[in-house]
Amino acid sequence: MEHSETEIKKHVKVYISVFAALAVLTVVTVAVSYLRLPFHQAVIVALSIATLKASLVALFFMHLISEKQIIFSILLLTAIIVAGLFFLPVASV
């Protein structure tokens, strides 16, 4: 993570843009829910928007965009195990 003054000021601009994007996406996801789409479509739209919002938070606020390899290794392992956790109930139905 770069800590020079100009770098930080650049980061601050990014944080504001990300905030605006998160606010807009929140409004979009609520607006879409009022359309009463068929359930499967509604799930895909709502979870896609949530994943996009979560990615913005993780990449920019949690600085994953400039993080070291070791952190990604931990997250990859977590993602594999959590995917298994989600697959279990789906597979058992």
């Binding site: 800590h3 003054e5 930080i8 000021k9 980061h11 601050v12 944080y15 504001i16 990300v18 905030f19 998160l22 606010a23 929140t26 996801t29 609520v30 829910s33 359930f39 509604a42 799930v43 709502a46 979870l47 928007i49 949530a50 919002k53 979560a54 938070v57 993780a58 606020f61 949690m62 993080e67 070291k68 390899q69 070791i70 952190i71 931990i74 997250l75 392992l77 977590t78 195990i81 959590v82 956790l85 989600f86 279990l88 109930p89 789906v90 058992s92 139905v93």
Partner: protein, 200 residues
Amino acid sequence: MSSPGLIRYISKPHPVTGVTNSKLGIWCFLASEVMLFGALFSAYILLRTGAPSWPRGSDLLNVPLATLNTIVLITSSVTMVMAWASLALKDFSKYRRYMGFTILLAFTFLVVKGFEYGHKFEHHHFPSTSNFYAIYFALTGLHGLHVIGGIIVNSYLLFPGSALWKTEPEQFMGRVECAGLYWHFVDLVWIFLFPVLYLL
């Protein structure tokens, strides 16, 4: 710095991992948190797919209040990262302002959630009422506890803990960054809880 008993590499990156031990530690903790919430989300999927019928969240819960809380939590994530950025710019008074805002927004979130819970209890909707309410209270209750945890840590870093800024600024910045990572995670969980419980 290298006297026995002290945890090393809390300000400078460890030569092997490339990150501070504090950051490695908080990410391992967050990985365990993903599993904790993941298990409950998994339980939600199991309950929902196994139920003969499941209510639409928006028919039972207050979507406008939850939307307000989503905006509150997103804003608090921005103020948290701005608090860290202020320290990076060596502006301590700005740090205090942003950290204060973050705590205030966290309290706002809890007050709004309290109204929601109060309304449910008034109408005799408890965790024992149905599987929907059971998983709703379990997930939002656990998330609420995390918000309280964030308030405690951030309050420490705003008041007594901030004395470290004068003696070990880099270490203090590291602490604020770790508290920030936790706080953004709490925001991230809500980003998924909101559509899953309220909109679908």
